[in-house]
C-alpha cells in the first residue's frame, strides 16, 4: 500500500535530486577502488571535457527511483567487480585456478559447484556417477572447503557461491572454513545465491519442496542479517530463467516477483524490511539484444525501488536500491566458430555496464563446448578490462538515459513486468504459480518461439543459420575432467567419514533434525555444528529430507 505522505517524499527527493544533479555536472575526477587513476575520466580520448551525468531525465543517478543507477557518480567512484565464475574437478584443482585468476587482476571469487554438490549428493553416491567435478568443483564436506580456500585470505576477498538447494550447507562450510583460519564470520564478504524459487521455475536444481525451503531461506537471511553484516544473503536470479528460454520481460518480472516473495516471507516471519533488504542482491542475464537489455536493467531498478518503498514500506534508501550481478548469455553463444563468441560477449558486457551492473562475469568463448580453458578465461577477463579501461563508457553515468528509444523500451519493460505481477497474483503468489506450472509454461512457449524464429531465419545467428563457415571446425583445446577425478573425490569423502568423531557427527545431525522440526529455531547454527563435525553434504541433506521430504516436478512441455 502506498503510505501517506509518500508523494510529498517523492517530490522532496526529486528536488534534492535536481540539486544534486547540478552539483554532479561538474567533473569530480574521483576514482575509487580499482579505478585506472584520475585524469582519464573527465575527458574523452580527444580531450573533450565531460560531465558526470547529462540530463535531467527521470531523476538522477543515486536517487529514487534509481532508474539511472544507484550511485550518483556511477563507475567514477567505483568500477564494477570483475568476477569470473570458476570451478571444476577437485577442490585443489579449483584452488589453483583461483590463485591464477587473482594473480591476473580479478577482484573476487565465484565458486561453481558440480552437479552432485548442487543436488545434495556426495561424490560417492550412485546418483553422482559421471558428474563429479564436471560442471564445477566437488565439495562434499568442510575438508573440501578448506582446501578450496587454501592460501586465500577469506577476510580480504569477497566470494560468490552459486548454489541453491544446499546453499545453507555451503554457507555453513564457508563460515566454518574461515573461522578455522581465525577469521570471524562478521568479516566475511560475498554472496550466496540461495534463490530456490527460480530453481522450481527454471534451473531445476531443487531438493526440498518450496514451502519448507522458504523457511530455510528465511533462516539464512535472519542469520546473516544478525551475524554476517557484510554478506549478501541471497542473489535473486533471472539468469537461469533467461537461459531456460524466457524473454527479457519474463526474466525481469519473474525475478522481481521472486524477490518480493522473499521479502514477504521475511516480513511474515517478523523481520523488519529495512533490517534485511539492504543485503538482498540480484543477478541478471545480459543477452545479445543490446538496447533491450539496457532497458531491462534500468526498469529493474525502478520497479524494485517503487515496490520496496510504496508496497513494502521500506524507509532506508538502501532497501530501495536494486544491486545486481550480470553474466553474459550462455545461450547466445554458438558451438559453430566459437571464436565469434568473444565478440558477442563484448557487446553483452557493454550492455551490462551501460545498464549499471555492480559486478560482471563474461563467458568464455568455449563454454558452449565444455568448461573453459585458462586461455579462454583470460580473454574473457581481458574483455572486461578493455571495456573498463579503454572504451571510456564508464565516464558518464547512464549515458543512454533520455534517449527516446531507451526510455520507451524501459517503460515497456516495466509495463510487461507489472502485467506479469498481476497474473502471478491471480494464482495467489509465486509458489502457487509454480505449482500450477505457470512460469514453466510461459518459458517453454517463449523458448520454442525463439527457436522457430531461428529455424525460419527470421532471426539470423552468425555461423549457425547465416554466414555459415562450411569447413571442418578446427579443434580447439578443451578442458577434460577425467574419471580419475571422480574416483579420487569419492575416496576422499569416504576418508572423511572414516576419520571423524562418529559420535559427534551423529549428535550434530540429530540436533539439526530437531531444529528442522521446530520452526522457532534458526537452522544455521545447527548446520555449522554439522559441518564442523565433518558431516558430509549428502548426510546433512538426507537428515533434512527426512523432515521436509523431496520435491518432484510435474513436467510441463
Amino acid at each position: 500500500m502506498a503510505s501517506k505522505g509518500s508523494a510529498a517524499m517523492l517530490r522532496q527527493a526529486q528536488h534534492e535530486a535536481q540539486d544534486e544533479l547540478e552539483t554532479m555536472k561538474r567533473p569530480t575526477g574521483r576514482w575509487g577502488r580499482n579505478g585506472p587513476g584520475s585524469g582519464a575520466l573527465d575527458r574523452t580520448i580527444s580531450d573533450v571535457p565531460l560531465q558526470v551525468v547529462y540530463g535531467p531525465e527521470d531523476g538522477s543517478p543515486g536517487r529514487y527511483p534509481y532508474t539511472r543507477g544507484i550511485h550518483p557518480n556511477g563507475y567514477r567512484d567505483r568500477l564494477w567487480t570483475m568476477r569470473q565464475f570458476a570451478g571444476f574437478g577437485t577442490a585443489s584443482q579449483t584452488n589453483e585456478r583461483y590463485h591464477f585468476l587473482l594473480e591476473h587482476g580479478q577482484h573476487g571469487l565465484s565458486v561453481a559447484f558440480d552437479m552432485p554438490t548442487l543436488m545434495g549428493y556426495d561424490s560417492d553416491a550412485p546418483q553422482a556417477r559421471g558428474e563429479v567435478g564436471k560442471c564445477g568443483v566437488a565439495i562434499d564436506s568442510l575438508a573440501d572447503m578448506e582446501i578450496l580456500f587454501d592460501g586465500i585470505d577469506m577476510g580480504e576477498i569477497t566470494t560468490s557461491m552459486t548454489i541453491n538447494g544446499p546453499a545453507c550447507i555451503a554457507l555453513a562450510q564457508y563460515v566454518a572454513a574461515a573461522e578455522k583460519k581465525g577469521i570471524p564470520r562478521a568479516k566475511l564478504g560475498g554472496t550466496i545465491q540461495a534463490d530456490i524459487l527460480k530453481e522450481y521455475i527454471a534451473q531445476k536444481e531443487w531438493i526440498f519442496p518450496p514451502r519448507p525451503h522458504m523457511r530455510i531461506i528465511v533462516d539464512m537471511i535472519a542469520f546473516c542479517t544478525r551475524e554476517m553484516p557484510k554478506w549478501n544473503t541471497i542473489s535473486i536470479s533471472g539468469y537461469h530463467i533467461r537461459e531456460a528460454g524466457s524473454t527479457a520481460a519474463q526474466e525481469l518480472a519473474f525475478t522481481l516477483a521472486d524477490g518480493f516473495a522473499y521479502v514477504e516471507a521475511c516480513t511474515a516471519a517478523g523481520m523488519d524490511v529495512d533490517e534485511f533488504a539492504p543485503r538482498l542482491s540480484f543477478f541478471f542475464n545480459s543477452h545479445i539484444d543490446f538496447f533491450e537489455e539496457i532497458a531491462k536493467f534500468r526498469a529493474a531498478r525502478r520497479i524494485y525501488a517503487r515496490h520496496m518503498r510504496e508496497k513494502y514500506g521500506a524507509r532506508n534508501p538502501r532497501s530501495w536500491q536494486l544491486r545486481f550481478h550480470t553474466q553474459t548469455a550462455g545461450c547466445s553463444a554458438t558451438a559453430q566458430q566459437p571464436e565469434n563468441n568473444i565478440v558477442r560477449v563484448a557487446y553483452e558486457a557493454m550492455a551490462a555496464v551501460l545498464g549499471g551492473t555492480q559486478s560482471l562475469h563474461t563467458n568464455s568463448m568455449d563454454e558452449v563446448l565444455a568448461l573453459p580453458t585458462e586461455k579462454s578465461v583470460e580473454i574473457a577477463l581481458r574483455t572486461q578490462q578493455v571495456l573498463a579501461y579503454e572504451t571510456n563508457v564508464t565516464n558518464v553515468v547512464d549515458p543512454l538515459g533520455g534517449a527516446y528509444f531507451v526510455e520507451a523500451l524501459t517503460d515497456e519493460m516495466e509495463r510487461q513486468a507489472e502485467s506479469y505481477f498481476a497474473q502471478i497474483a491471480e494464482y495467489g503468489g509465486v509458489i502457487e504459480a509454480i505449482e500450477a506450472g505457470f512460469f514453466q509454461r510461459e518459458i517453454a512457449e517463449a523458448s520454442y518461439r525463439y527457436q522457430r524464429s531461428i529455424e525460419t531465419r527470421d532471426r539470423i545467428v552468425v555461423g549457425v543459420n547465416g554466414f555459415v563457415h562450411d569447413v571442418d571446425e578446427e579443434a580447439i583445446d578443451l578442458l577434460k575432467i577425467t574419471e580419475a577425478t571422480e574416483r579420487a573425490q569419492a575416496r576422499a569423502v569416504q576418508d572423511v567419514r572414516a576419520n571423524r568423531d562418529a559420535a559427534a557427527a551423529a549428535r550434530a545431525l540429530e540436533g539439526l533434525q530437531a531444529a528442522c522440526r521446530d520452526p522457532k529455531e534458526n537452522l544455521m547454527p545447527h548446520l555449522i555444528d554439522c559441518v564442523n563435525a565433518y558431516c558430509t553434504e549428502g548426510e546433512i541433506v538426507d537428515a533434512m529430507a527426512k523432515v521436509y521430504g523431496r520435491y518432484t516436478e510435474r513436467a510441463v512441455l
Partner: protein, 138 residues
C-alpha cells in the same frame, strides 16, 4: 501398423536440469506429427529404456548438458541391448565435443546433435530412421 504416428521418448538423465533443448525438440517432433513422451528430469538409464519399451517407442532422444554424456549414453546403449530393444533408434544431443560424439556413435548411439543443429535436420533424421524401424517392426 505403419500408419500410426511415430512414437518418440525424449529423456533427461542424471542430475542435469537443463531442459530447454529437450523441451524444444519434444515440441518440434510433436508439431511434425509424432507422438512424444517427455520423461521429465533426473531419469536413470534403466528408467528411460523401461519407458521406451512400455510406450512401444520407435526412438529415444537423450539430452545431456552436464558433461556426463560419456557415462550416461553408453549406459542407455547397454540397457537397450540387455533388454533386447536395440532396434529402438537411440539418438541424443547436448554440449558434446566432436570427438566424444564420434566415440558415442561408435558405441551405438545413432546420431548426436550439438548446439545449433537445425530442428528440421533432427525431424528429418527421426522420421527417416524411426520410420525404417517402424517398417521393420510393423
Amino acid at each position: 501398423m505403419a500408419d500410426r504416428p511415430l512414437r518418440i521418448v525424449i529423456a533427461k538423465a542424471g542430475l542435469d536440469g537443463h531442459d530447454r533443448g529437450a523441451k524444444v525438440i519434444a515440441r518440434a517432433l510433436r508439431d511434425a506429427g509424432m507422438e512424444v513422451i517427455y520423461t521429465g528430469l533426473f531419469q536413470t538409464p534403466e528408467q528411460i529404456v523401461q519407458t521406451a519399451i512400455q510406450e512401444d517407442a520407435d526412438g529415444i532422444g537423450l539430452s545431456i548438458l552436464s558433461g556426463a554424456h560419456m557415462t550416461l549414453f553408453p549406459l542407455v546403449v547397454e540397457q537397450l541391448r540387455g533388454q533386447d530393444a536395440a532396434d529402438i533408434v537411440f539418438f541424443g544431443g547436448g554440449t558434446i565435443p566432436a570427438e566424444d560424439a564420434k566415440r558415442l556413435k561408435e558405441l551405438g548411439v545413432r546420431e548426436i546433435f550439438t548446439p545449433g543443429a537445425p530442428l528440421q535436420e533432427i525431424i528429418d533424421f527421426v522420421e527417416r530412421e524411426c520410420g525404417k524401424r517402424r517398417a521393420l517392426v510393423g
